[in-house]
Symmetry: C2
Subunit: 159 residues, 2 copies
Amino acid sequence: MKMHNVFREMYNMNEFFMKKALEEAQKAFEKDEVPVGAVIVRNGEIIAAAHNSRELSKDATAHAEMLAIREACEALGGWRLLDCDMYVTLEPCSMCSGAILQARIERLYIGTMDPKGGAAGSILNLFENYHFNHKTEVIKGILEAECSQILKDFFKRKR
Amino acid sequence: MKMHNVFREMYNMNEFFMKKALEEAQKAFEKDEVPVGAVIVRNGEIIAAAHNSRELSKDATAHAEMLAIREACEALGGWRLLDCDMYVTLEPCSMCSGAILQARIERLYIGTMDPKGGAAGSILNLFENYHFNHKTEVIKGILEAECSQILKDFFKRKR
């Protein structure tokens, strides 16, 4: 069935890009940073890839999503990330969710949810019910087990 | 009356720092950027001062508050801006409000409110009712008329 194959291909593509975000999270893990990674994709191409580096860069704003957005703005030469999707291993906080809306990201693919700080449905949902002049579609649960496991491994090691 | 003088002095101090934020907003105005300015103060000293530069820097995250936070983190050599207050001419958006909480800013002094995008009471209030592991005190209406006027002048010129 043709339709079935299209959906299967889209699904695989989402897993492919989330794996790239996970590779970024792994880099953070190795630097003893909370392992969160993000990539930004435009027309099937990764234009930015970043991982959390708050501790090493000593910068409160250096979450994976923020760094990826800044990199993508530089790559595209403008602050509007039109037709861009973000894949991020962990549900974004308020700062990052706000930045995703500011940058006009089209679709946000989330690995696992963050019940303690997530702003895409956990402690609040900035992507619903607010009157922003942009709407970002949110798709949850891409490679959820892997995205969750890397965080569990990190915090287990920390204890 | 001694007590009266203490309050008067505090009031004047807040106006003094908001004037510095307004000077930053004026710099943005002159560069044809939406005129918003912010300063971060620690122990009565300005450790960071920045203005919105989203257009010129082509960076969706380059709001005045974000740039000031990054500058202050650099000045203090860490991502926790403990004992720091921010003065900003316009109510912060979700991204900036989230960053203010992430950076552990102690007090946030706001000039004028932003009914279209403000996240400190206008379209939502990130500083209330959410379970962040930090609480920032919010004080509104410092030099409100001046902070509002510079924005009105800017958008009048744009039309």
